[in-house]
């Protein structure tokens, strides 16, 4: 029992990331009808927002500390972060420690700008073009974005720490009443899961309960009719693209402590997220979320030693295997609608 819970927990954080990216992909596909291969790059840019904030708050100047000396007896030169000097040591320390969650403040406007620029500048011209060309142009864009990031941040992964309050492991087993020490789970991954649940809930609530969301949902079902009602659906769709970018970006920011950001992480996640979208059913938002968690958890079960010894290599292929089976037995995915992306 505790082993199963542990595996489910282990699957949740990856599943959360898949779900968040897949949600954005589906929003874009559902509203604009565009297959966005650059969506992984948005996730990656989010992660690098965290890196940037961390770099900014740890920017330091050298200062001589008269109270301390080095081993030669000279006054010690220490690195003094600007934030410490500006806000005092305790506030400075706080900023450095909490740089990852704080990066969300930076990520939201950045992603909004990136997303809307992308849609207005490029994607808009591809609404009417074949899906293959949409895939190709956004694939090119993804390469460009990741190469730009590589130019500024280099090719190596950049470790980005979680706040120390959430850094260690937590004993979920003890909380749930199992023997203490059996279900140990890193704190931050739990935070990530909660965070993504909130974001996903937020997006659904936004679509469900606001007028804006209602129009967008109507537009997803029947763009033309909504257009005929005199509603400017295009502008709303642009904003939805921005929102999808923000969701991907926030997913990236918070993922930075789990996986040290590198320039090609977007592509790695994109490939899997696409599989997730297709399994969930192209164009279905609940499908994307459910499939994200489902595949994340399945993958974590497949990497249990008991399972691996039964079917060697299953952990390596489980997601693709599920995708193949789903696509062949349920062509529209788990929750797909009829007629989406079919000739």
């Amino acid at each position: 029992m505790d082993a199963i819970i542990l595996q489910i927990l282990n699957g949740l954080d990856k599943g959360s990331a898949y779900a968040l990216i897949a949600l954005g992909l589906t929003l874009i596909f559902g509203t604009l009808g565009v297959v966005n291969f650059a969506h992984g790059a948005l996730f990656m840019i989010g992660a690098f927002c965290a890196v940037t904030v961390q770099k900014l708050v740890t920017l330091s100047f050298e200062e001589v500390d008269p109270t301390r000396t080095d081993f030669l007896g000279n006054p010690l030169k220490v690195q003094m972060p600007y934030v410490d000097a500006l806000f005092g040591p305790s506030a400075g320390e706080f900023l450095i420690n909490w740089s990852v969650p704080l990066a969300i403040v930076l990520a939201i406007p950045v992603m909004l700008v990136v997303g809307i620029t992308m849609e207005r500048g490029l994607i808009k011209h591809f609404y009417k073009r074949p899906h293959a060309e949409q895939i190709l142009v956004t694939f090119g864009l993804a390469i460009v974005l990741q190469e730009i990031v590589r130019y500024f941040f280099g090719a190596n992964p950049i470790p980005t720490g979680a706040p120390s309050a959430f850094a260690g492991p937590m004993d979920i087993g003890a909380i749930l009443g199992f023997t203490p020490g059996t279900v140990i789970y890193p704190y931050w991954r739990f935070v990530y899961f909660i965070f993504s649940a909130i974001v996903i809930g937020g997006v659904f609530a936004f679509l469900q309960f606001t007028t804006f969301g209602m129009v967008v949902r109507a537009g997803m079902n029947d763009r033309e009719t909504v257009g005929l009602l005199g509603i400017n659906i295009d502008r709303r769709f642009t904003i939805m693209f921005g929102i999808a970018a923000v969701v991907a970006g926030m997913a990236g920011v918070m993922y930075a402590p789990i996986l040290s950001p590198n320039f090609h992480m977007g592509m790695d996640f994109l490939v899997l997220s696409f599989v997730v979208v297709v399994v969930g059913g192209m164009g279905s938002l609940p499908g994307a979320v459910a499939a994200g968690f489902l595949l994340g958890i399945l993958q974590s079960f497949a990497s249990m030693n008991e399972v691996k010894s039964l079917i060697p290599g299953i952990d390596q292929v489980i997601i693709y295997l599920v995708a193949i089976i789903v696509l062949l037995t349920r062509p529209r995915g788990l929750m797909g609608r009829r007629g989406v992306m079919e000739e």
């Binding site: 297959v35 490029l122 011209h125 899906h131 293959a132 060309e133 895939i135 190709l136 142009v137 694939f139 090119g140 864009l141 993804a142 390469i143 460009v144 190469e147 730009i148 590589r150 130019y151 090719a155 592509m267 490939v271 696409f274 599989v275 297709v278 192209m282 060697p312 290599g313 952990d315 390596q316 292929v317 693709y320 295997l321 995708a323 193949i324 696509l327 062949l328 062509p331 992306m341 079919e342 000739e343």
Partner: protein, 401 residues
């Protein structure tokens, strides 16, 4: 001649001449000039031109003719490479048995993957091929380690059986004693030309499969594939069962990829799973689109273009730039270098990505369409106002009836 129209025969002869003379015309700059680094006439690179040319030719039979975008063709490349290295390990360094096995194995592989993937179309087909390729890649790293030697990569060891190995036989890939990495260097004045056995071996195979491609493009089969691209349903109502046509195209295209992968291992007797990764599949897509999918020459030009830039562009570093722009005043020089340097050296991928985007946005027909536009403009200026303005662009999709 050879079952081709006169125009196509001429086309084929031109391609043969160009291919055979490649070691000469890719070496336009004398060794002493500062532009010598732009020479591409060295064996390793020329072999890559030919091999990736074969790879993309095969991809083009599928994508160019039928419009089915496979994101998993690298799997067949990998299967081909592994097959050849295994034949080295079991028999000897003769490349022929390996290449035959590579084509057969990749064909079987493609038959299976194609049979399953072709049950869906559009993006679903793309995702299915991607899923299969990624599965193969992951498995090559894990469960199939006895077959692939995992992360180390597959290579020949001293204790391998090599049952056909005789005393004095070459210890590197060869064709009945003709050793692949042997070259003849010919110096003409300041120019040095390298004629390499491996290059000519790959080039001759490339010419043969180019001829095969040409025949396929001009066959009823090729026409039906193109009809599938624009209206698969209509073809079904016209009494044609499109499934076996698609599957045949997929298998042929997989065999081309297997042959290309085999040749990679024929030039360099080792291989690894990274050859199967989806980035490698993405690369062949880039090549085809950049050159012009659906045309005979376009994808091959695209392959040459990308491989050239990968090798040459990526060598340009800051010191080379300083050398070039040395004549400028210091401030301007620094500025120009600052602007240019992100796009060269390590950053050539950035250039590639931008170029690719520009092509997809403005020239969906690729380099070939661009060339036709330029030719068209030139003709019009000279008063040869062609009556079929509109058709010149679309005829790129099907040159020469």
């Amino acid at each position: 001649m050879l079952g081709l129209s006169r125009k196509d025969t001429g086309f084929l002869i031109a391609v043969i001449c160009l291919t055979l003379a490649t070691p000469i015309f890719l070496q336009p700059f004398p060794e002493t000039s500062s532009l010598a680094q732009f020479n591409a006439g060295y064996p390793d690179l020329m072999q890559r031109f030919a091999i990736y040319g074969i790879f993309v030719m095969g991809f083009n039979i599928l994508f160019g003719l039928t419009g089915y975008l496979s994101f998993g063709h690298a799997a067949f490349l990998g299967v081909g490479s592994y097959s050849v290295v295994w034949m080295y390990k079991l028999l000897d360094y003769n490349v022929l048995p390996g290449l035959v096995l590579a084509v057969i194995m990749s064909g079987i592989f493609a038959l299976f993957i194609g049979f399953v993937s072709l049950r869906r179309s559009g993006i679903y087909f793309s995702i299915l091929t991607l899923a299969f390729a990624q599965m193969s890649y992951n498995l090559a790293y894990s469960v199939f380690t006895p077959l692939t030697n995992g992360e180390t990569g597959l290579q020949v060891y001293l204790n391998d059986p090599q049952v056909l190995m005789s005393e004095g036989a070459p210890t590197s890939p060869h064709l009945f004693g003709l050793v692949m990495n042997e070259s003849a260097k010919v110096a003409v004045g300041d120019w040095i030309f390298t004629f390499n056995v491996g290059y000519y071996f790959t080039a001759i195979i490339a010419i043969l499969v180019f001829y095969l491609s040409l025949r396929i493009f001009r066959s009823p089969f090729g026409m039906i594939l193109r009809a599938i691209k624009t209206n698969r349903n209509r073809l079904n109502y016209a009494g044609i069962n499109t499934k076996p046509y698609m599957l045949t195209a997929f298998v042929i295209s997989g065999m081309y990829a297997g042959l290309a992968g085999g040749l990679l291992a024929a030039m360099d007797p080792l291989t690894g799973a990274q050859r199967m990764q989806w980035t490698a599949s993405g690369e062949v897509v880039l090549m085809a689109i950049l050159g012009g999918a659906g045309t005979m020459m376009g994808p091959i030009l695209g392959a040459g273009f990308i491989k050239y830039f990968e090798n040459i562009f990526s060598k340009i570093n800051e010191s080379v730039l300083h050398q070039w722009f040395g004549w400028m005043p210091d401030g301007v020089q620094d500025f120009v270098i600052g602007v240019v340097s992100p796009f060269v050296g390590e950053g050539w991928h950035l250039t590639l990505g931008l170029l690719f985007m520009v092509v997809v946005i403005f020239l969906p027909g690729g380099i070939v369409q661009g060339a036709l536009l330029v030719v068209g403009m030139f003709r019009r200026r000279n008063g040869h106002d062609g009556p079929k303005k509109q058709e010149s662009a679309s005829s790129a999709a099907q040159p020469a009836e």
